[in-house]
Symmetry: C2
Subunit: 208 residues, 2 copies
C-alpha cells in the first residue's frame, strides 16, 4: 500500500467506507428477517478435519453462556482423547459418555458394534428428552447410521421430538440424506490438504 | 435387519469382519508411514459454519493434553462471545486476545481496521516466538489478509519461523493461496445449509 499517494489512499478509504455502509444495510436487513429463536440441528460431515472439533468448540461456547451440555460419542471410546480429558473437568455442566469401542476396522465385530451403538442411542435419548440440556453432541453418529447400526428413521423421530430450545450437533463422515433433510445447518468439511498424507502423525492437541 | 435369517446374518457379520480386517491392514500401514512429529499449520476456510468453532475445539483438546494456548482474534472483539467467556476461565493456560472491533461493514473504517490488524499481528508474533505455547489460534486472520490489511508474505515468514513443535490454526473465509501452499492441513467448510437462511437468528451457544 506504500506506493499510493496520500490522495489515492484517502480515495481508497472512502470507497471502502461507502461499500461497507451499503453492505451493512443489506446484512442488517437479513439479520432483522432472521428473528426466530429455536433449537437447531447442526450436522458436520465430509472427509475433512474439523467435524468433531467444531462440535467440541460449540460445547465450550455453550458453557460460556452457562448452558448444560450432553455428549455421546458413538464409535469413539477405546482411547482417551484431549476432548474427553478436558470436558471431564466440568462434571456439573457436561455429561460425557464415550460409548464406542473404536473404528469399525478396529473392532471388526458387527454384532458387538450394533449393541454398543444401541446403548449409545439409549443415552442420546435420555439427553433428547431432558430440556435441562441446552446442547447435545452426538459425535460420530453418522458412522453408526452409515453402517445401518441404527435405524435412521428412529433416530430422526427422536431428534425431532426433543425439547423446543435444545440444540443438537451430529458429526461424522457420510451423513445420510434423510438426516440432512431435517437438519437446520449442514457443513461439509472438505479435505483440501492433510498433514497425514505428508507423513505427519496424528498428534495430541490437534487430532485427538 | 430383522428380515434376515440367522444364517444370512452370520454370513453378513463374517463378510464385515473380513472386510474390516483388510481395511485395518491398509490403515495400519498408512499410520506406520506417517511417523513425523512436528508442529503443523492448519487452515479452516470456506463459507460454512465450523471454522472458528473447530479452532476452539482444538483449544480444549490441547488443554486436555496440558498444553498452553495463545489466541488472537482478528476482526472479532466488539462483542463478548461464549468462546471468549469460556476460555477466559483458564487464565494460566489460555492467553486470549480479542483485538478486532467488528466486521468490516460494522467498522466502515479501513485505516483504523489496518491499525487494529497490525496490533493483532504484533500479539500473534509474540506467541509465534514463544515455544511455551503449544497451540496458537489466529481467528479470522484470513479476513485481514483478504482485505490486504496485513502483508501475506510477512505473515507467512513469521509463521514459518515459529518454534518447531508449535501448532497454529488460522481461520476465516477466503484463505489466500499463498497461505494454503504453506499449510499442512486445510479444510474447506462448505455451507450446504444454514439455519439463518430459514429465518433463524444467530443464537448463543451455537453461533457465538
Amino acid at each position: 500500500m506504500t506506493d499510493l499517494t496520500p490522495e489515492q489512499t484517502a480515495a481508497l478509504n472512502e470507497r471502502h467506507r461507502v461499500r461497507m455502509e451499503r453492505k451493512k444495510a443489506i446484512i442488517d436487513a437479513k439479520i432483522a428477517a432472521a428473528d426466530k429463536k429455536i433449537g437447531i440441528i447442526i450436522v458436520n460431515t465430509g472427509n475433512g478435519k474439523g467435524k468433531s472439533s467444531s462440535a467440541f468448540g460449540m460445547v465450550g461456547r455453550a458453557l460460556g453462556h452457562g448452558m448444560k451440555v450432553g455428549v455421546v460419542q458413538f464409535i469413539k471410546g477405546a482411547m482417551s482423547t484431549g476432548d474427553e480429558m478436558f470436558l471431564r473437568r466440568f462434571p456439573d455442566d457436561v455429561s460425557f459418555h464415550a460409548m464406542g469401542e473404536g473404528y469399525t476396522w478396529e473392532t471388526q465385530n458387527r454384532e458387538r458394534d450394533i449393541v454398543k451403538a444401541e446403548q449409545a442411542w439409549e443415552q442420546a435419548r435420555r439427553f433428547l428428552s431432558d430440556p435441562a440440556y441446552g446442547l447435545v453432541v452426538l459425535d460420530e453418529l453418522n458412522i453408526a447410521l452409515k453402517y445401518h447400526y441404527l435405524d435412521v428413521h428412529t433416530v430422526i423421530a427422536d431428534l425431532l421430538d426433543r425439547p423446543e430450545m435444545q440444540h443438537v450437533v451430529v458429526t461424522g463422515r457420510g451423513a445420510p440424506p434423510e438426516l440432512i433433510a431435517v437438519a437446520d445447518t449442514v457443513s461439509e468439511m472438505t479435505d483440501v490438504k492433510h498433514a497425514f498424507r505428508a507423513g505427519i502423525a496424528a498428534q495430541a492437541g490437534t487430532e485427538w
